[in-house]
Structure formats: structure tokens, C-alpha cells
């Protein structure tokens, strides 16, 4: 270490103290221990929280995933049986996987594209931009349960949306009453509530240096070329963030599906209606854990979800180097 340099966790004062008390001295050791204890004391709320609310539940659920455990009897070790069951014997598991992938592959990109389109429009508005930004952002602060219930009403076959579609001479889907239209109905809610994504994309668009557009103009670039060669690369870190958080959200998709299927189901106990078209991975996990008390099985589902999410995140991080452009290297 160079003389006078400071390592992480040390203050400049510590360097001076170290010179007065040679390394290995009893005073120095005491001082180091005290410093470590001070650091530990400041970190202790986080450490306690991490151990109690993250690590312990994770280890618990990992253990439970290898057991049958219904909360009423002690867990019984069954090894990989739960994992074998869910991959080979549980048709609802695969349906929930397909439904979740639909939301990730269709719903998430649609939401990002919509947010980007809105941001591109708003960024051009000169007068009253604040009002438009607020209007576009507002749906994001509507509670998801309220939004879900509102859309169940709006998308009722005799509701206002179908009224407009009918007036335009278009078909009138049954939306949440039809297994083929139920997921697109949820995608509409996702798109409608894209305010958060829109705001960060808007910030990224405003951050693109104007001189780059001027230079592109001088080079004769058209609107598409400017967007493709200037805008897109410069906002790619934000697009990447939106994609990553969107995919994580998609894997854990729950609230709107729960609300919609409960609201449209004649039998109040049924989740996933119609015909399990709204049974997502999160709803099936919830159903197993909290309706059927299959905590061991639900834990296995949770670990599969965690590992899948971890793998996808890792792939995204690795591949992001190819398409995400970070200014300044």
C-alpha cells in the first residue's frame, strides 16, 4: 500500500494513527478491533434483518422443499419427491409455467414498448409537458387491486370497452370470461399501468445530448436512423433495466391475476378461472401454500422460481454487454 493511501473502511486519521503505533502493537490491535466493532454495530440492523428475514426463511424453505409439511404436523423428509411431482405429475404446474411465460414474453415487451412510445411523444411536448407526464404516470399509483377490479368492469362483455369496439364494428371479446382473451385482458392492465417505466424512459430520453441529434442531422440521418443510431443506444441501459425488472415482475406475477380470477369466478374459491387460463406460477404457489397447506410443495415451487429467475437474470446480465451501451465506456 502506498504511503498515505486509504483503504475502504478506514478514515485518513487511521493512517496517521497507524504511523504512531507500529503494526502489530497491542494498541493498534485494540484500535482495529474497536473499529471493526463500530462498523459491525452500524451494520448490525441490516445483519439481523438479513439473517432473520432473508437467510433464515430461505434456508427454511429450502429444507421444507424436501419435505411434506402441511403446517399441522412436523415436516417429513421426502427428498426430491416434491420436485419429481411438480415436473412429472402436476398438470397445473405446466399450465402455470406457460401462462407466466406468456406474460413475460408478450406482456412485458408490450408494456415497455407502450411506455417508450408514450415517453417519445411526451418528450416532444413543449407546453404543459408536466400535465401530460402526470396523466401518463397516474395509473402507476393506482393500487393493483383497484386497477384489477376496474378493468374487470371495463372489460365486461357489455362494458364500455366492448361498447366502443362494437361501435367501431369490431368483435366483442368476452375478455376475462374467455380463456383465450383473459391473458390479453391482463396485458392491457400491465400496459395501462406502465407509468413507472415511462418515467425512467422519459428521463433517459431527456438525457440524450442534443448535439448528437444535430450531428446526425448534419449527416443526413432521417427520423428512424436518429432513433436507431442515437436514441436507442443511449437509452439502452434504461431499457435493459426496464426489461430486467419487468421480467422479474413477470415471474412473480400475482395480484392482477388473483383479483381478476376471483372477480370473474362464480365459485368464490376458484383461482385461475376461466379454465386455469389465469393460473400463473405465483397464484399456483399461493394456492398450494395457503389454500391447500402444502407448504413443502409450495417451497419446492418457490425454489424452482428462484432458480429460474436467477438463471434468466444471469443470462440477461451476461448478454447485456452485447447490446447495452454505457456512455463513457
Amino acid at each position: 500500500m502506498r504511503s498515505g493511501s486509504v483503504t475502504v473502511g478506514e478514515t485518513p486519521t487511521s493512517g496517521r494513527t497507524a504511523r504512531r503505533a507500529p503494526t502489530g502493537g497491542r494498541g493498534s490491535q485494540r484500535l482495529r478491533r474497536r473499529r471493526r466493532l463500530t462498523v459491525l454495530a452500524f451494520m448490525s440492523p441490516w445483519i439481523v434483518g438479513f439473517l432473520a428475514f432473508v437467510l433464515y426463511p430461505m434456508i427454511s424453505s429450502l429444507y421444507f422443499s424436501f419435505t411434506t409439511y402441511d403446517l399441522t404436523k412436523p415436516p417429513r423428509w421426502v427428498g426430491l419427491h416434491n420436485y419429481w411431482l411438480l415436473f412429472t405429475q402436476d398438470p397445473v404446474f405446466w399450465q402455470s409455467v406457460r401462462n407466466t411465460l406468456w406474460i413475460i414474453c408478450i406482456g412485458v415487451p408490450a408494456k415497455i414498448l407502450f411506455a417508450l412510445a408514450v415517453a417519445l411523444v411526451i418528450v416532444r411536448i413543449r407546453r404543459g409537458a408536466g400535465v401530460y407526464r402526470t396523466i401518463a404516470y397516474l395509473p402507476a399509483i393506482v393500487p393493483m387491486v383497484a386497477a384489477g377490479l376496474s378493468f374487470v368492469y371495463l372489460l365486461n362483455p357489455s362494458g364500455p370497452v366492448n361498447g366502443i369496439l362494437g361501435a367501431l364494428g369490431l368483435g366483442k371479446p368476452l375478455w376475462f370470461g374467455d380463456p383465450h382473451w383473459a391473458k390479453p385482458g391482463l396485458a392491457i392492465i400491465m400496459i395501462w399501468a406502465a407509468g413507472n417505466t415511462m418515467v425512467i424512459l422519459l428521463a433517459a430520453l431527456l438525457d440524450v445530448p442534443k448535439d448528437l441529434y444535430e450531428a446526425a442531422d448534419l449527416d443526413g440521418a432521417g427520423a428512424w436512423a436518429r432513433f436507431r443510431r442515437v436514441t436507442l443506444p443511449l437509452i439502452s441501459p434504461v431499457l435493459y433495466f426496464a426489461l430486467l425488472t419487468g421480467i422479474i415482475e413477470g415471474f412473480q406475477y400475482f395480484t392482477q391475476a388473483y383479483v381478476a380470477s376471483k372477480a370473474i369466478s362464480g365459485n368464490a374459491q376458484t383461482l385461475g378461472a376461466p379454465q386455469n387460463s389465469l393460473m400463473f406460477y405465483g397464484t399456483w404457489l399461493y394456492q398450494q401454500g395457503y389454500s391447500y397447506f402444502h407448504m413443502g410443495y409450495a417451497s419446492a415451487l418457490a425454489w424452482i422460481l428462484f432458480l429460474a429467475l436467477f438463471a434468466v437474470t444471469l443470462v440477461l446480465i451476461r448478454t447485456s454487454r452485447r447490446w447495452v451501451h454505457y456512455s463513457g465506456g
Partner: protein
């Protein structure tokens, strides 16, 4: 590794077996006792919780030393968490019988059979057998029925009379004939008035398809017989033929247009005259009165496949039990016995909650049994064939799987019904085995 090992030890140590073998001693009718406050966890909220509070106040008047405080909005898994945490409620209400077997089998709810005998409460002389069947499991009585639901037929007298019918259908084939005749269409072919909507997602129609009305069984020796009991094929074939004769798309559109949310709103399809006949619980009478429906209607047992089954129906309602680990089990028993068996209390609860009373005495004396519209349901409850499906530790999973299967069957996505039912039975057995 050491940390993980320690954590596993902690995890396993925190999941001790539920159980409570302390005897519960009856207190008799004590006028004097050290003051005791108990908690009652129930799923009721709002107006319904106020009705329960009213009865708890009456209990306090009778036993001034005993106060029972109701905690609202607590469902079955809250109760289980309370028991697991070592802080159970002194009394727990279960929303229905679906989890009773699980709670009973594990000891999460105390077996109150012994204390009932000590306290000279003859359960079979107090409660109809039909409700005792779903409050017991494996030879243990883990709860007492505290009002129940019963499902029957609601029919629009005016619409039936216009079509030339002066009596409700008694068999499923009569229901089909009448439903077809009573269904009218708009110019565009859509349904204007539905005679009967058999789709499992429509209001309470799923209850018509859970076996009672075509004499189907769910289990034999703990194994699903959905794939082997031919009554299921008969019942689902009946449903499909009715759907086909009206049209699945038309029925789906009609049901979706009404919207499931209309079930408990004043635009309910039956209450507005858009549905001529429907299966529903006894509570509909109270809703129809509150909504000031103009429909002239009556109630009857739901039609059955076999005339011998006519008059019976699906039942199943609230249960009250004593969780394992409570501090004052004897006092809990006193309060539980009062709420579940005191005729005055039960009649008040029945009048307030609009559910079927569950003791012989209250079935004889309550207003519920005297009102011609609701008395149908009191009679359904007492029919010897009325039942909740066989209680098993599977909980709700079998009903959910059946409902999802029926949805596919109705939509024409199941080509081979027998094969589909066999697979369904296999899935039910798989889920039951997870536990």
C-alpha cells in the same frame, strides 16, 4: 456448512407437532368464576361480525365473568398460524368444512367428543347427522356446526307459469326440458332470458355439479373414485347435453355479460328476471329481500338424477372449534357450547346471518324454519341424503381440480370424458398425497 446445519436445526426445531392432550372439564352453569377474557377468531366482517358480537354480548350477560372478544376477518390459515405460533385463539370459526379433516387429523383442533359426554351433551340428539358428518373426522369430533348453508332451486313463478309450468322440476331431465323452453333469445341470437345456466363458473352452479344431485361419490377408502363412479359420467353428460342444446358460446356470453360480480348485487340475474331458475344457497332470500326484487319466486329442492335423491342437497357451513394449546379450554368449551347449542342464541344468529340453524331445537323453533321461502333449506338440511362431500385431508384441492376440469369439459376441450375423469382422479390422489 456449520451455519446452514445450525439453521436447519433451528428450522426443524421450530416446527413442533401440534397437539394438546390436556383434558377439558365442563364448568357447568357457573354463576361465579374468576373473570376470563377469550378471543374468537372468525372470518366474519362488517354487518355479520356485528351479529356475532351481539350474541357474544348475550353470553356475557349470562356469564358476567366471561368475555369473548371477536377478532374479525381471520380465515383458516390465520388460525393455523396462530396455533403454530403458540398463541392460538381460544375459539376458532372455520369458514366451511373443507379444512376440518386436516385440522382434526393433526390435532390442530381439540376433540370435543369427551367433554361433550362429560357435560351430558348428546351430540346425535342435538344435531342432525348430516352436519355432524362434516364436523368430525377419523372418529373425532373436532368442531360443532354453527349454522350451515344448504343449496336448493330458486325459480321464477311468473316465467314458469307463462311457459305452462306450475311446479318446479324434480328431476334433471325435467330441468333440461324446462330450461330449454324457458330460454328465450334476442334477435341477434343471444340469450335474453336463460332458463338455467349450468356452467360451473356461473354464480353457484358449481354446487349442482359436485355429485349430490346425481348420487356420485368422491372417495372410497381415501382414494378418489372420480374416474370409476359412473354417476360422474352421468352427471357431466347431463350438463353437457343441456349446454349443447342452448349453445356453449351463447351461455358463456350470457354469463360473462351478467358478470360474476352481479351475484351479490342488485343486478343479480335471477333477481332481475334474466334467469328463470338457478341453484343457490339459503342466503339468496335475504339478498332478494334487501334488493327489493320484483320477481315472484319460490324455492324448492334442486332436481335430482334419481327421484329417491329429490329433497336432498349439498350442505356445509360454519364450524366452531377449540384450537390446540388454548389457555382456558374449559371456558372455551362453555362459550362454544352456548353459541352452537343454545336455541335462543342459534335462532338469533340464524336470523342475523340468514343461514340455516343447525340443531334440532332451533330447526323446530326458528323463524327461518317458518318462512316458506327459507324453510325449504331447513328441510334440505334434514334430508337423509344431504351431505358435504366426504371429508378428507385433501381440503379444497379436489373441488378446485374438479371445477377446472368441468370448465374444460363444458368448453368441449375434453374428448374422452371417462379418460379425463380417470386422469382427474389421479391428479386428486397426487395432490392428496402431498399433504
Amino acid at each position: 456448512m456449520g451455519v446452514i446445519g445450525l439453521a436447519i436445526l433451528v428450522v426443524t426445531g421450530c416446527t413442533a407437532q401440534i397437539g394438546d392432550s390436556r383434558p377439558i372439564s365442563p364448568l357447568g352453569s357457573l354463576a361465579h368464576h374468576k373473570p376470563v377474557t377469550l378471543t374468537l377468531w372468525g372470518f366474519f366482517t362488517g354487518r355479520e361480525a356485528a351479529v356475532v358480537d351481539g350474541e357474544l354480548a348475550q353470553l356475557h350477560k349470562r356469564y358476567p365473568w366471561l368475555t369473548v372478544k371477536q377478532v374479525q376477518g381471520k380465515i383458516d390459515d390465520d388460525v393455523l398460524r396462530g396455533i403454530n405460533s403458540g398463541h392460538p385463539p381460544d375459539l376458532a370459526l372455520l369458514g366451511g368444512p373443507q379444512n376440518l379433516a386436516k385440522f382434526c387429523d393433526s390435532g390442530a383442533l381439540r376433540d370435543i367428543g369427551p367433554v361433550a359426554r362429560k357435560d351430558h351433551l348428546d351430540l346425535s340428539a342435538t344435531f342432525p347427522k348430516q352436519v355432524l358428518t362434516y364436523s368430525s373426522y377419523g372418529g373425532k369430533t373436532c368442531a360443532l356446526p354453527l349454522l350451515t348453508d344448504a343449496f336448493g332451486l330458486y325459480y321464477n313463478k311468473t316465467l314458469l307459469a307463462k311457459a305452462g309450468y306450475h311446479h318446479p322440476p324434480r328431476t334433471l331431465s325435467e330441468l333440461t326440458t324446462m330450461a330449454k323452453k324457458l330460454t328465450t333469445y334476442n334477435k341477434d341470437g343471444s340469450i335474453k332470458v336463460a332458463g338455467f345456466v349450468p356452467l360451473s363458473t356461473f354464480y353457484e352452479s358449481a354446487h349442482a355439479l359436485q355429485g349430490n344431485y346425481f348420487g356420485a361419490s368422491w372417495y372410497h377408502n381415501g382414494t378418489s373414485v372420480l374416474g370409476t363412479d359412473s354417476a360422474w359420467v352421468r352427471g357431466l353428460d347431463w350438463e353437457k347435453s343441456l349446454i349443447k342444446s342452448i349453445g356453449y358460446d351463447k351461455l358463456s356470453k350470457f354469463a360473462a355479460t351478467l358478470g360474476a360480480e352481479s351475484e351479490f348485487a342488485s343486478n343479480n340475474g335471477f333477481e332481475t328476471g334474466k334467469v328463470a331458475m338457478m341453484i343457490d344457497g339459503e342466503w339468496r332470500v335475504a339478498f332478494a329481500t334487501a334488493d327489493k326484487t320484483k320477481v315472484d319466486y319460490a324455492t324448492a329442492p334442486f332436481p335430482a338424477d334419481n327421484p329417491a335423491l329429490y329433497g336432498s342437497g349439498q350442505i356445509g357451513g360454519t364450524l366452531i372449534g377449540i384450537p390446540a394449546g388454548v389457555k382456558h379450554p374449559s371456558e372455551s368449551w362453555l362459550a362454544m357450547r352456548y353459541l352452537a347449542t343454545n336455541t335462543g342464541a342459534l335462532n338469533q344468529l340464524s336470523a342475523g346471518l340468514k343461514n340455516v340453524p343447525t340443531t334440532f331445537a332451533s330447526l323446530r323453533t326458528s323463524k327461518f324454519s317458518r318462512n316458506p321461502l327459507t324453510s325449504t333449506f331447513a328441510q334440505i338440511l334434514q334430508n337423509k341424503h344431504s351431505s358435504w362431500k366426504q371429508p378428507t385431508t385433501a381440503g379444497q384441492v379436489d373441488i378446485d381440480l374438479l371445477t377446472a376440469f368441468e370448465g374444460k369439459w363444458e368448453a368441449g376441450q375434453v374428448g374422452d370424458l371417462r379418460g379425463g375423469l380417470r386422469q382427474l382422479a389421479k391428479d386428486v390422489n397426487t395432490q392428496t398425497a402431498i399433504r
